[in-house]
Symmetry: C2
Subunit: 327 residues, 2 copies
C-alpha cells in the first residue's frame, strides 16, 4: 500500500452513461483524466474491469504515487463499508464496489454518493470555499444537493442525507420518481420541466407551436425549453419562470432550515438557464425571514462537470489522511 505523501489521488465519477477518472492533486487540480462509457448491460463485474483498465492504463499515471481513490456513485452507497446498496442508473444492488476496487489496486478507496462528493468538491475547491455553512443544489435531470453545517458535510444516519430535490413543495402535487407527490424535483428537474412543457403544449396547442417547431420532431427536453425561453417564446418563458418560482419556494424552506452563508447552484438546467439563479435569489430575498438572507450569497458552481472527480478525489484524500492521523 502506498505510504507517500504525494497528495495525488484519483477521483472517479461513476454514472449510468459514462465514467470519468482523473488524477487530482492536493489543491484540487485535475492533472489528467480518462473517459469511458458505462457498460450497464455488462453488470458490475464488467464495469469494475473497465474501471481497472481505465485506472491502470487509460489514465497513464504511476499508481505507486496515488494515496487514495475516491469514487462518486450515482446511487445509494454505504461510505463506511464501500458497498453500493442500490443504483437504479447502474442497475446495481448490494455490490461491494469499494472493497473490490481497493483489493484489486491495493490502494485505499473511499466511495460516496455522487452528489455528496460534488458538494464536497465545491466546498473544498469550488464556489463553496471558505464558508462553514453551505447549501449546494444541483438541478439536472434529477435534483440533488448537499449541505455543509458547522464545517462538516451533512451525511445523515447512513450517508443518505441531502436529498434536497425530494422536499415536498406542493403537498399532494405532481408524482415524483420517488414515492412522494409534489417534490421539488417533480417541478424543476429536467424530466419534470419537459413533462410540464408537454402538458402546457397539449393544453394550448397554439401557444405550443413554437416549442413543437423548435424541437424539429425530436423529444421535448428541458434544454430545448430553456433555449426557446431565451428567444422570448411565451409558453417556454412561462414554463421557465414557474420553474424559478418553484425552485425559489423550495430554497426559502431550505434556507430557513440550514441558515447557510452561501448557496451554490449547479447542474445542467442551471447551466442552460443561468438566469434561474437570479430569479431564485429575488424570490428568496422577498419571501424568506429577513435575518436569514441579509448577507446570504447566491453563486453558481465553479467546478461544473469536474465537481465529481475533484470532489471524490479530495474527499478520499481527507478521509485517508485523517485515518492515518488516528493510527
Amino acid at each position: 500500500m502506498p505510504s507517500s505523501n504525494s497528495g495525488l489521488t484519483i477521483g472517479i465519477d461513476l454514472g449510468g452513461t459514462k465514467i470519468r477518472a482523473a488524477v487530482v492533486d492536493r489543491d484540487g487540480r485535475v492533472i489528467g483524466s480518462h473517459l469511458i462509457g458505462t457498460d450497464v448491460a455488462g453488470g458490475p463485474e464488467k464495469v469494475l474491469a473497465d474501471i481497472l483498465d481505465s485506472v491502470r492504463g487509460g489514465l497513464g499515471t504511476d499508481l505507486s504515487a496515488i494515496e487514495a481513490i475516491g469514487v462518486g456513485v450515482a446511487g445509494q452507497v454505504d461510505p463506511a463499508s464501500g458497498l453500493v446498496r442500490s443504483s437504479p442508473n447502474l442497475k446495481w444492488e448490494s455490490f461491494p464496489f469499494g472493497e473490490r476496487l481497493s483489493t484489486a489496486l491495493d490502494i485505499p478507496v473511499v466511495i460516496d454518493n455522487d452528489v455528496q462528493v460534488a458538494t464536497w468538491g465545491e466546498w473544498q475547491h469550488g464556489a463553496g470555499r471558505g464558508v462553514d455553512d453551505l447549501l449546494v443544489i444541483f438541478v439536472g435531470t434529477g435534483v440533488g444537493g448537499g449541505a455543509v453545517t458547522g464545517g462538516r458535510l451533512l451525511t445523515g444516519r447512513s450517508g443518505l442525507a441531502g436529498e434536497m430535490g425530494h422536499v415536498t413543495i406542493v403537498a399532494g402535487g405532481r408524482q415524483c420518481t420517488c414515492p412522494n407527490q409534489g417534490c421539488l424535483e417533480a417541478y424543476v428537474g429536467g424530466w419534470a420541466i419537459a413533462e410540464r412543457a408537454v402538458e402546457a403544449m397539449l393544453a394550448n396547442p397554439d401557444a405550443g407551436r413554437g416549442l413543437l417547431e423548435w424541437a424539429k420532431g425530436e423529444e421535448i427536453t428541458a434544454r430545448l425549453v430553456g433555449e426557446l425561453a431565451a428567444t422570448g417564446d411565451p409558453l417556454a418563458t412561462d414554463i421557465m419562470d414557474r420553474t424559478g418560482q418553484y425552485l425559489g419556494a423550495g430554497l426559502v424552506g431550505l434556507i430557513h432550515v440550514f441558515e447557510p452563508a452561501r448557496v451554490v447552484f449547479g447542474g445542467g438546467v442551471i447551466e442552460g438557464s443561468p438566469d434561474l439563479v437570479h430569479t431564485v435569489e429575488s424570490i428568496v430575498r422577498a419571501n424568506a425571514i429577513p435575518a436569514y438572507t441579509y448577507d446570504l450569497e447566491f453563486v453558481r458552481s465553479e467546478l461544473g462537470t469536474d465537481a465529481g472527480v475533484i470532489g471524490s478525489a479530495s474527499l478520499a484524500l481527507e478521509r485517508v489522511v485523517s485515518r492515518r492521523r488516528q493510527l
Copy 2:
C-alpha cells in the same frame, strides 16, 4: 465566579407570557422551579429585574453552587454574544440579555433560541437520547424544531437554523406569519388550524354547526378543533386529517434532507391530538424513499413543558464545561 463541579445549573424558559426558572442537576432532573408572568409592557429592564428576583429569591437555591445559567428565548438570539436580536413575543430588539444577567449574578450565562434548547433537552435527557441524527418538531401555535446531525446540534451560520415550520409545503399557498406563502406552519400551526376551521365553517355553515356549538361563543382554537374531532364531528375530523397530511408532507421532505434515526414530536397541538403522530408516520412510510424509513422511529416528546428549562440548563452545563476544558 463559582468553580464548583456541582453539576447544578439553572435553566430559564423566557416566553412572552411566562418565565420559568428551574434548578436542574447534571442528569437533567428538575430540583426546584419558580414561575412568574412576563411583564412585556415593562420592557427588557423590568423583565431582567423580575428574572433576577426569581433566581435570587423565588427559586430558593444557593447560587454559589450554580455552575451556569442557560436561557431559552422565544426569538432570534446570538448565542456567541448573548444578544437577543429580536423577539416579537417579548417586543425586544437588540438587548444584551446574556451579558446583563451574567454580570448581575457573576455566573456564566448561555442563551439560545427556545426551540434550539428544547431540541437539546430532548436529545440529552428526553425522547431523543442515544441517537446522533435526530429531528425534533414542535407543533404549537407556531411550528418550530431542531436537528442533531452527526452528534451535533444544527445551528446554522449564526444560530438561526432549524426553522422547520417555515419550509414551503404548498408553493404559492396560504400566507404565513413570516413573509413566505405556503409554509408548514401556515397549515399545521395552531393559529393556522383555527383559521382553516373557521374558513371551513364559513364555506359550509351546516357542517360547521358542531364546532360553533362546541366553542360556546368563545374563539375557535386548534384545541377546540382537536377535541371536537375526537368526538367524530366530520368537519373537525376533516380539518385534523388534513393537518396530519400536511405535517406528513413536510416531514417526508425533512427526512429526505436529514436522514435522521428518530423524529420527536412535541408541542401543544401534538399533546392535544397525539394521533397526529401515527398519521404522520403512516404518510412518511408510504411516501418517503424506502431506504430512509426502514428503521426510522417516530416518538413523542418526553420532557413536555420541561423541555425548555431542562434543555437550557443542560446546554449551559455543556458549553461551560467544554469552555473550561479548552482553558
